[in-house]
């Protein structure tokens, strides 16, 4: 796995989780909160998409993982997490929308961690 991409995804995902949690806990919904969440999610999602593409290329190039279907499912699923999180959160805007986005951020970071383990043959 591409280390700088992994670092970007995990950092952006966890920052998104933190920001989302704060928006809900402190009840700070509004345009500023939306902008921060969208910016962090945009960075995270872009990095996830590139990361999935690079990993898929590596797989095609001959890199071996223990379970190819699981690995591919993670690559595709990881890119789908944040769009789904935003769709679900934005369909009913309230103070808890931030927490929904936060779940998405944590999920992306955890899935990326699992991807790294699979890539290294540890899972």
């Amino acid at each position: 796995m591409h280390a700088p991409l992994v670092a970007t995804v995990v950092t952006a995902g966890l920052l998104l989780a933190l920001a989302g949690a704060l928006v809900s806990l402190l009840d700070r919904t509004g345009r500023t909160a939306d902008r921060v969440l969208l910016l962090l999610a945009g960075v995270a999602e872009a990095a996830v998409v590139v990361q999935s593409g690079v990993a898929a290329a590596g797989l095609i190039g001959g890199h071996d993982v223990r379970s190819t279907p699981t690995f591919v499912a993670y690559l595709v699923g990881n890119a789908a997490v944040l769009p789904f999180a935003f769709a679900w959160a934005w369909a009913d805007r309230n103070r808890w929308s931030g927490a929904v986005i936060a779940i998405g951020g944590v999920t992306v970071a955890v899935m990326t961690g699992r991807l790294v383990m699979m890539w290294q043959g540890r899972a």
């Binding site: 279907p69 699981t70 699923g77 679900w88 309230n94 808890w96 999920t107």
Partner: protein, 154 residues
């Protein structure tokens, strides 16, 4: 100030409600409930996908563990969908699914502690969900609490 003491009428919802008939209970998928449904959705997709791969590629290795995996996946899917929907039927289904989930994590968790040899192939519920940060143990408790909390009109 306080809520008016008239029967609850949905006050001009910005999004179209999925069911035409208003239910007497608060929706389980509104407000903080959206966070609960989001967590359930992650577990539903994770458990169901994992079980599909296990059943499709190495079912013969541990039929019981992988069938259990598939069962837990199905329970999470039912819980997610029923919690996300409103109505009496969805609420009843959600309560059944979440109760099954709590029973499952307690039974499988306990069995995996007392008979570890029979549970070497991990499932979501092994060791009370230790592999998933004990979220599988906490989730049904929160789910039942949320179902109870939203059961009365607000």
């Amino acid at each position: 100030m306080g809520e008016p003491s008239v029967p609850p009428v949905p006050d001009a919802p910005s999004t179209p409600t999925p069911t035409p008939t208003p239910t007497p209970s608060a929706s389980t998928a509104r407000g903080a409930g959206r966070v609960l449904v989001a967590v359930y959705a992650v577990f539903a997709v994770a458990a169901a996908s994992r079980a599909s791969v296990q059943l499709a590629t190495r079912f013969h290795e541990a039929p019981l563990a992988y069938l259990l995996s598939a069962f837990s996946g199905a329970v999470y899917v039912v819980a997610t969908v029923s919690l996300a929907r409103s109505g009496v039927v969805a609420r009843r289904l959600a309560r059944a699914a979440v109760t099954t989930e709590l029973t499952g994590v307690l039974v499988v968790g306990t069995l995996s502690v007392v008979a570890p040899d029979d549970f070497r192939h991990p499932t979501v519920w092994s060791l009370y969900g230790i592999g998933y940060g004990f979220v599988p143990l906490v989730l049904p408790v929160v789910g039942l609490w949320w179902l109870r909390r939203t059961a009365t009109p607000r």
